[in-house]
């Protein structure tokens, strides 16, 4: 019971958030945060627990987004149906891919995921008749208010985390970590490593695809470069996983919060701080810096990863004790 207390309190707080905070800007950021909890948890399952690092999460995200978008575009079926279908579409992409590529180990698998994403991105761009090509897909949003989207995102974040927590504490979880630690040893212990890697990938792809469909519904617009983006989706997913702590259940949630905040800091030029300084000083140099910083979030991500790996190699959740000790030195110094 005590073990479930923290998540339940957290869930309750998140549930009342849109009732308390009426500002649409913060609601928007929280929807993004919840979406990244789903994606980060999924990436963490296949990469953090199972040790099969994916550089191509956007392949599953984009598949889910396009499944929902195309459903609505071609058949006039609400893209909300695409939530489940998006997950299934991503699994349909992931399983044959895993079947072939899990024969490769380590960096080869990671590179193959990268290739998968590129193949899908180009396919979506080329198949104009079906996908709309580079023009993308535009659908009518179902709601004007952000609140319904918020609760759907919250439900998906809670469901994805709960399902993954359940899996990693049961037999498959032990098998995933065994595969990560030593695949040959795992085989000798009766673990069908190929099957369990596929299982891990299927669950991860499913949730990533669901997140993609959520994105389609919420944003109302996708194109190949947005949903199959290497840096905005695939690398962001890796960062969410690493910053929070790989192989921990709550790591991706912390990582998602940090990364969405950092991303927004850069996108908004530190909430307009640099733009303000530029206007205040009238200096063109400061204005130039402001513009550069706004566009430099990828660089900022890179620096953040280096810092995290150097200072907190196990992520914020994995190195929590280290962080706590660093801040409580006055008490322990006696």
């Amino acid at each position: 019971m005590k073990k479930n207390l923290v998540p339940l309190v957290l869930l309750a707080l998140l549930a009342v958030f849109p009732l308390v905070v009426k500002d649409n800007y913060y609601r928007h950021l929280m929807i993004l945060f919840l979406m990244w909890v789903v994606i980060g948890s999924a990436w963490n399952l296949i990469a953090g627990y199972t040790g099969q690092v994916s550089f191509g999460d956007a392949a599953f995200f984009g598949s889910g987004a396009y499944a929902a978008g195309l459903l609505s575009h071609h058949f006039g079926i609400s893209a909300w149906w695409g939530l489940a279908l998006g997950g299934v579409a991503a699994v349909a992409v992931g399983l044959p891919f895993g079947w072939i590529c899990f024969r490769m180990r380590g960096a080869y698998f990671a590179l193959a995921t990268l290739a998968l994403n590129e193949v899908l991105r180009h396919s979506a761009a080329i198949a104009e008749g079906f996908t709309g090509g580079m023009v993308g897909i535009l659908i009518m949003p179902s709601f004007v208010s952000k609140v319904p989207y918020y609760y759907v995102a919250l439900a998906l974040a809670a469901a994805s985390m709960a399902s993954i927590r359940w899996i990693v504490h049961a037999k498959p979880g032990y098998y995933f970590v065994s595969i990560r630690e030593d695949q040959d040893a795992a085989e000798s212990l009766g673990i069908n490593t190929h099957f369990y890697k596929m299982l891990s990938l299927a669950v991860a792809a499913f949730w990533t695809g669901v997140a993609g469909s959520l994105y389609m519904n919420y944003m109302g617009f996708i194109d190949p470069d947005v949903v199959f983006s290497l840096h905005d989706i695939s690398i962001m997913a890796i960062l969410v996983g690493i910053v929070g702590g790989v192989g921990t259940v709550y790591g991706p949630m912390v990582g998602a919060f940090v990364m969405v905040t950092v991303q927004e800091l850069f996108r908004s030029g530190f909430f307009g701080l640099f733009a303000f300084l530029g206007r205040a000083t009238g200096s063109s140099a400061v204005e130039a810096v402001a513009k550069t910083i706004t566009g430099a979030h990828v660089l900022g991500f890179g620096i953040l990863v280096v810092v995290v790996i150097l200072v907190l190699p196990n992520g914020i959740v994995g190195d929590w004790r280290k962080i706590r000790n660093a801040f409580s030195w006055t008490k322990t110094a006696t």
Binding site: Y175, E181, D184, S188, G190, I191
Partner: protein, 239 residues
């Protein structure tokens, strides 16, 4: 019908015949010692039995069933466990979690797996270190973990590849005791070992190979007195 048998096993790596026509039987309940100089093909033989390598030719038969086309994980589930000469601990898992992962090959719920793992850890004398990370164990602990993990898969036949190498005299005695206890519990064993007094005291029969081929088989006494074995180990000058 033999409990376990390999027939004319051959394994080529490129042009090199690591194993070149090895055959032997193992009776249920016995300890068979597999000896030979470095590079003579002992580990390769184990790797073919547990399907890390496909034999170039030959057959492996366990309780009347041909198993040399099955994948490694199925061999484990059929009841053949193994340890690795170069130990393969699941480093960032505790000793208990290592053994739980193995126990899941026989049971499905966490409670059952944990119970079986704790029992096996107790049997192998690892209870005091059960919560340590596997990578923090010294070599003797790692060798013992290899055995504990294999035992949690409830093998009828256990392949031990140099589990006594690198142990000090006290640890060696403990290791021998454990291996005897495993046999007394009804598990058949094939053991590879370089330390002569270990293999001589523990084995019921010994199969000796050199350059991938059988050079002798018999009781420890017979094999120790065998001319070909003495030559293989000491060189022709001493024979």
């Amino acid at each position: 019908m033999a409990f376990f048998r390999v027939e004319e096993l051959v394994k080529y790596f490129g042009g090199l015949a690591a194993v070149n026509g090895v055959s032997f039987d193992v009776k249920q309940g016995e300890i068979l010692g597999l000896i030979g100089p470095n590079g003579s093909g002992k580990t390769t033989t184990f790797n073919m039995i547990s399907a890390y390598h496909r034999p170039t030719s030959g057959r492996v038969i366990f309780k009347g069933q041909e198993i040399h086309r099955l994948p490694t994980h199925k061999i484990c589930r059929l009841g053949i466990g193994r340890t690795f000469q170069v130990v393969k601990p699941l480093g960032r898992m505790s000793v208990l979690d290592n053994v739980i992962a193995a126990a899941y090959s026989r049971v499905n719920t966490h409670a059952e797996a944990q119970a079986l793992a704790l029992e096996t850890i107790g049997f192998c004398g690892m209870t005091p270190v059960k919560d340590q990370l596997a990578k923090s164990l010294p070599i003797a602990g790692r060798k013992r973990l290899e055995i504990a993990r294999a035992m949690a898969t409830k093998p009828e036949l256990l392949l031990l590849d140099e589990t006594a190498a690198g142990l000090n005299p006290t640890e060696l005695i403990e290791a021998i005791d454990l291996i005897r206890k495993i046999r007394d519990n009804g598990t058949t064993i094939i053991i590879i070992e370089h330390i002569m007094h270990v293999i001589m005291t523990i084995s019921d029969r010994i199969h000796a190979i050199n350059f991938g081929q059988t050079i002798a088989e018999g009781t420890p006494k017979e094999v120790a007195a065998n001319q070909a074995v003495i030559e293989a180990y000491l060189g022709t000058d001493y024979a």
